[in-house]
C-alpha cells in the first residue's frame, strides 16, 4: 500500500512547501535539510534519478524527483549529485559493541539484556556506521538456549547506550530474545547434551512462563489471588508469549530449523530464524509457517559441523519460496563495513537485486517491528540514509556518508571517519564522542 501512497504524500508535501513562504510559522518550524541530486533507491518502489529528500526534525518530510519537490528557502542543501542514496542499512544480527548476555551459570537466561553490556565507544560500532548501518539488533552469543534479550539500537553518535535505544511505547528498551539450538549451546550439564534435551529444556521453560503468566492474569482479575513474586526471567518470556518480544533464533541445520518452527507453533511465539545455513532444504516448510529468515552469507561453507550446508543460494531459494528474507552481518563473522557485499553475494547466487537490497533495509526493519519508522525512503520515516558513489552491489562502490535522523554520523571525506572505514593505526581504538560533544550545549548530547 505504501508503494502507491508515498508518491502521493510526497507530491502533497511538495505542494505544501511550494505555498507562499511569508508566514512566520516557517521560522518556528525546525530547519529543513534538503538532500538534492542523488539517485534515490526508496525500496519497494522504483528508483528516482536526480531526486530530492527533505528532512525536518529527523524525519523524511518529502521525497521525489527534483521537478516535483521544491526545496524551501533557507533549507540547508546537501548536494548529492553523482551519488546514490538509500535507506540506512539494518542489520538484524550484530555483535558490534560486545553486547554479550548470559554467563556460564545456566543454559537459559532470558532475564539478561545486552543493553547492560553494549559499549557505545567500541571501534566496531563506528565501523558499522562506516558500512552504512543505521540500525542494528545487538545480539548476545549463541552458546545458550536462551542467551538474553537483544537490543534494537539506532546508531546515533550517542554517549551512552540510552542515546541509541529504540523504545517500546511504554519507554522500555526495545529488543527481542536471543535463542539458539544446534551445536553451539551444547555441552556438559546443565547445558543440553542432545538436541532432544535442548528442546525439552526450552519447552519446560515456556511451560513455566505460561503458568507464571496465568498466575499474573488471575491475580489481576481477582484481588483475593496473590500475584507471583516478580521473576525477571519469566517476565521476559511473558513478553515473548505476548508477542511484544520477537525470538531471534540462531539455527543452522534443517532439522534444527524445523524444531524451532515446532516450538514456535506449540507456544505461539513470534520468531525470526537466523543464519539458516540449511534453510534451502526446508524452504517450503518455513514459508508455510509464515516465518521470516535472517540469513548470513559467509565466503565458504563449513568451519563447523552445522554450517556444512551453507550456500550462497539460500537467500534466493527462500525468497522464491515466499519467505521474507533479511541479510545480516553477524559481525564479527562478517564485517559491517562490507555489509553491502553480503547482499551482492546473494545476487551472485540468484537473488533478485531489489530483494537483496530490501534484505538489507525494509525486510530487516520488519523483522524488528520497526518498519513504521525505518527501512524505506517514505514520508514520515526516520531520515536514516546510506550514501554511495555508485551501484550498491559493485565491489568498487563505497559508502560515502551515513546519516541518522538527518544528522551526519559518518563521512568518508573526514580523515578520522576514514580511518574506521578502511583501518590503520588507531582504527582499533575506542571512539570518543564524549570528547567532541560533552561540552556542547551543556552536555545535552
Amino acid at each position: 500500500m505504501n508503494r502507491t501512497l508515498s508518491p502521493v504524500l510526497g507530491l502533497l508535501l511538495a505542494t505544501l512547501c511550494a505555498l507562499p513562504r511569508v508566514s512566520l510559522a516557517a521560522q518556528d518550524e525546525p530547519p529543513v535539510r534538503a538532500f538534492v541530486g542523488a539517485r534515490l533507491l526508496p525500496m519497494r518502489s522504483a528508483p528516482i534519478d536526480d531526486g530530492v529528500v527533505l528532512v525536518r526534525a529527523g524525519r523524511i518530510a518529502a521525497v521525489g524527483p527534483r521537478a516535483s519537490i521544491q526545496v524551501p528557502e533557507g533549507a540547508e542543501v546537501v548536494d548529492l549529485a553523482q551519488r546514490v542514496l538509500m535507506p540506512g542499512l539494518v542489520c538484524t544480527h550484530s555483535h558490534v559493541g560486545a553486547p554479550w548476555g548470559a554467563d556460564r551459570s545456566g543454559p537459559m537466561q532470558p532475564e539478561v539484556s545486552s543493553v547492560d553490556s553494549f559499549d557505545v565507544r567500541a571501534a566496531t560500532v563506528h565501523r558499522a556506521r562506516a558500512g552504512g548501518l543505521t540500525t542494528i539488533n545487538a545480539m548476545p552469543g549463541s552458546g545458550h538456549l536462551m542467551g538474553g534479550q537483544t537490543a534494537y539500537l539506532k546508531l546515533r553518535e550517542g554517549n551512552t547506550v540510552e542515546d541509541l535505544l529504540y523504545r517500546f511505547e511504554d519507554g522500555a528498551p526495545m529488543g527481542g530474545l536471543k535463542m539458539a539450538n544446534g551445536t553451539n549451546p551444547r555441552g556438559e550439564s546443565p547445558r543440553p547434551g542432545t538436541r532432544a534435551k535442548a528442546a525439552a529444556l526450552v519447552r519446560g521453560k515456556f511451560l513455566e512462563a505460561q503458568r507464571y503468566a496465568e498466575k499474573k492474569r488471575a491475580a489481576a482479575e481477582d484481588d483475593e489471588k496473590e500475584a507471583p513474586a516478580i521473576d525477571l526471567a519469566m517476565e521476559s518470556l511473558v513478553e515473548v508469549l505476548e508477542g511484544r518480544r520477537i525470538v531471534h533464533h540462531h539455527t543452522h541445520r534443517h532439522d534444527d530449523i524445523v524444531t524451532v518452527l515446532r516450538l514456535a507453533r506449540e507456544f505461539d511465539f513470534r520468531v525470526v530464524l537466523h543464519h539458516v545455513s540449511d534453510a534451502w532444504r526446508v524452504a517450503d516448510e518455513i514459508a508455510a509457517a509464515g516465518v521470516a529468515c535472517s540469513v548470513i552469507v559467509v565466503d565458504s561453507p563449513g568451519g563447523k559441523l552445522e554450517a556444512q550446508g551453507l550456500r550462497y543460494e539460500t537467500s534466493a531459494v527462500l525468497h522464491a519460496a515466499g519467505v521474507p528474507v533479511s541479510i545480516h552481518t553477524d559481525d564479527y563473522i562478517t564485517d559491517s563495513r562490507l555489509f553491502l557485499r553480503s547482499a551482492a553475494l546473494a545476487v551472485r547466487a540468484g537473488m533478485p537485486r531489489d530483494a537483496a537490497l530490501e534484505a538489507l533495509t525494509i525486510a530487516g526493519a520488519e523483522q524488528l517491528d520497526l518498519a513504521d519508522r525505518i527501512g524505506t525512503l517514505e514520508v514520515g520515516k526516520d531520515a536514516d540514509f546510506c550514501v554511495l558513489d555508485g551501484d550498491p552491489l559493485s565491489v568498487y562502490t563505497k559508502v560515502q556518508q551515513t546519516w541518522v535522523e538527518g544528522e551526519l554520523v559518518f563521512d568518508l571525506s573526514d580523515p578520522e571517519d576514514r580511518l574506521f572505514a578502511v583501518g590503520g593505526p588507531g582504527a582499533g581504538d575506542e571512539r570518543l564522542f564524549s570528547a567532541c560533544c560533552a561540552h556542547v550545549e551543556g552536555g545535552e548530547r
Binding site: 571501534a123 559467509v298 565466503d299 565458504s300 561453507p301 563449513g302 568451519g303 563447523k304 559441523l305 554450517a307 556444512q308 550456500r311 550462497y312 564479527y332 563473522i333 564485517d335 562490507l338 557485499r341 551482492a344 553475494l345 545476487v347 551472485r348 547466487a349 552491489l393 559493485s394 565491489v395 568498487y396 563505497k398 578502511v422 583501518g423 590503520g424 593505526p425 588507531g426 582504527a427 582499533g428 581504538d429
Partner: protein
C-alpha cells in the same frame, strides 16, 4: 604455423577412437570476450588453445585458429588459473572437528619435520570449493599456530591422491611470530620465541656443517639421521624458504634482525598487518611478502590492520602477493579471488591485483616458468568468468586445469 601443425594433428586424418581420446585429453580452446594474459595488454575476443595440458597458442581470434574437433569453451572474461600464495586448505579440514583438523600438532613448538605432503587431503570439499572460484594452484600447509608448526606444499586443486596434486612437496617451512604462535602451551614471550627460533636455526646450521664435513672428508662420520635437524638445515642454508607469519611492527623488526644473523635464510614475510608502520625497513630489506587477506579480521595484534595495506605495499614497490590465509572458524577458508577483489576496491590497479593471485604469486613460489600467465608452453590453467572477475556479482563459470574442465560453477560438490 601453430595452426598448421594443429591442423595436421587434428584435421588431417581421422583418428581411431582410442587414439582420439588420448589425443584430446587435456586439449581444449577457450574463447574470451576479454583475455587477461598477465603477459601483455588484455586481448579483446581472444583465444587460448591448450593441447595435451599445455598452452600452444594465445592471441586474438584472427591470430589463433582452433582445429576442428577441439572443444571450445566461451566466457566473457578469461584469466590465468588463480594461484593462492598461502592457504591451509586440505590440512585445516572443512568440518573443523578433531578428525579433520590437521593444521597443527601441539606436542612441540618446533616441528619443521612435519610434512604437508603427509597431511594434505585432496578430497576436502574446500579444495573443490576454492577451485570452483578459479583457483587452480594452492600453496598450503601447516597453520600459523605454533612457533614452527611444519612444512607447506604447493598443489594443483585436482587429483585423487596427493601425488596427483603435488607440484612442490616441500615448498617452505612455516614459522609464526604472531600471537597465535605463543598461545596455549607455546612459548610464552616474544623474547622466548626469538631465542627458540635462533637456537633451532643454530641446530640446523651445525647439522648442515656436520653433513658437509662428512661429505668432504671420508674420515669424518656423517651425523645421525635426524628429521628435525635436517629440515632446519635446509632452512638455514636457504634450500627451503622460511615462511614467517608476523603482524606487529616490532615482530616484523625481529624478523629483519634474524635475517641479518642468518644471511642464507630465504625469508618470506606473511601477514604483516603493521607493515605500513615499518615501510622503509621493508623496502630496504626487499623480502617477498604474502600480505594478509584484505578482509582479515581486525582485532588484537591486527587491530591496526588496514584494507589499504595491499595498495600501500604495491606502491612502495614491494614484491607483494595475496593469500586466503588461515581461518580457525567460519569461514574455514577465504577465497583468494575475493581478497584480491577487495584489494582492487581499495586502490590496487586491476592488472596488479590480478597479478597478486596469478603471475606474481607463481613467481613468489618459484613456479612462474610454468604457471601464472597465459603464454605458450605454460600449463593450460584458466579461470572463466561471466564479467569482471572482481565484481561481487560476477560468477566464475569454469575452471580449467591443464586443459581439463574441472569446475563449471560456484558450488559445493
Amino acid at each position: 604455423m601453430i595452426a598448421l601443425i594443429l591442423a595436421v594433428l587434428f584435421g588431417a586424418a581421422p583418428l581411431a577412437p582410442q587414439q582420439e581420446s588420448i589425443a584430446l585429453k587435456g586439449t581444449l580452446a577457450v574463447r574470451a570476450g576479454t583475455l587477461h594474459t598477465q603477459a601483455g595488454p588484455p586481448i579483446a575476443n581472444g583465444i587460448v588453445l591448450v593441447v595435451d595440458g599445455r598452452i600452444v597458442a594465445v592471441g586474438s581470434e584472427a591470430e589463433v585458429v582452433v582445429p576442428t574437433g577441439v572443444r571450445v569453451l566461451e566466457a566473457a572474461v578469461v584469466v590465468p588459473g588463480l594461484v593462492d600464495a598461502h592457504s591451509c586448505v586440505g590440512l585445516a579440514g572443512w568440518l573443523n572437528t578433531d578428525h579433520d583438523k590437521d593444521e597443527v600438532d601441539r606436542s612441540d613448538n618446533v616441528q619443521p619435520e612435519l610434512r604437508a605432503l603427509d597431511a594434505y587431503n585432496p578430497a576436502d570439499p574446500l579444495v573443490e570449493w576454492v577451485r570452483s572460484f578459479g583457483v587452480t594452484t594452492v600453496h598450503t600447509g601447516h597453520a600459523p599456530l605454533a612457533l614452527i608448526p611444519g612444512q607447506t606444499i604447493v598443489v594443483k586443486t585436482r587429483g585423487n591422491t596427493v601425488d596427483e596434486a603435488v607440484l612442490v612437496p616441500e615448498a617452505m617451512v612455516a614459522a609464526c611470530l604472531a600471537d597465535a604462535g605463543r598461545e596455549r602451551d607455546g612459548v610464552g614471550t616474544r623474547a622466548k620465541a626469538m631465542a627458540t627460533l635462533r637456537q633451532s636455526l643454530l641446530d640446523g646450521r651445525r647439522h648442515a656443517d656436520a653433513v658437509a664435513k662428512a661429505e668432504a672428508d671420508e674420515e669424518e662420520e656423517a651425523p645421525e639421521r635426524d628429521l628435525r635437524k635436517e629440515a632446519l638445515a635446509r632452512v638455514v642454508t636457504g634450500a627451503t624458504p622460511l615462511l614467517v607469519t608476523v603482524h606487529r611492527a616490532q615482530d616484523i623488526a625481529n624478523v629483519l634482525r634474524l635475517r641479518e644473523e642468518f644471511p642464507e635464510l630465504r625469508i618470506v614475510l606473511d601477514g604483516v598487518a603493521e607493515a605500513p608502520l615499518v615501510l622503509e625497513e621493508l623496502v630496504a630489506a626487499a623480502l617477498p611478502i604474502i600480505v594478509h587477506p584484505t578482509m582479515f579480521r581486525a582485532g588484537g595484534e591486527t587491530k591496526n590492520l588496514s584494507m589499504e595495506t595491499p595498495r600501500v605495499l604495491v606502491e612502495a614497490g614491494l614484491d607483494v602477493v595475496m593469500q586466503s590465509g588461515y581461518e580457525g572458524y567460519v569461514p574455514r577458508t577465504r577465497v583468494v579471488l575475493y581478497e584480491a577483489a577487495v584489494a582492487a576496491r581499495y586502490g590496487v590497479p586491476f592488472e596488479r591485483a590480478l597479478g597478486m593471485i596469478t603471475l606474481d604469486a607463481a613467481r613468489l613460489l618459484g613456479l612462474d616458468g610454468r604457471l601464472g600467465s597465459l603464454e605458450v608452453g605454460k600449463d593450460g590453467d584458466l579461470a572463466l568468468f561471466d564479467g569482471d572477475p572482481f565484481e561481487y556479482t560476477t560468477r566464475c563459470v569454469g575452471t580449467v586445469i591443464e586443459g581439463v574442465l574441472v569446475s563449471t560453477g560456484e558450488r559445493p560438490r
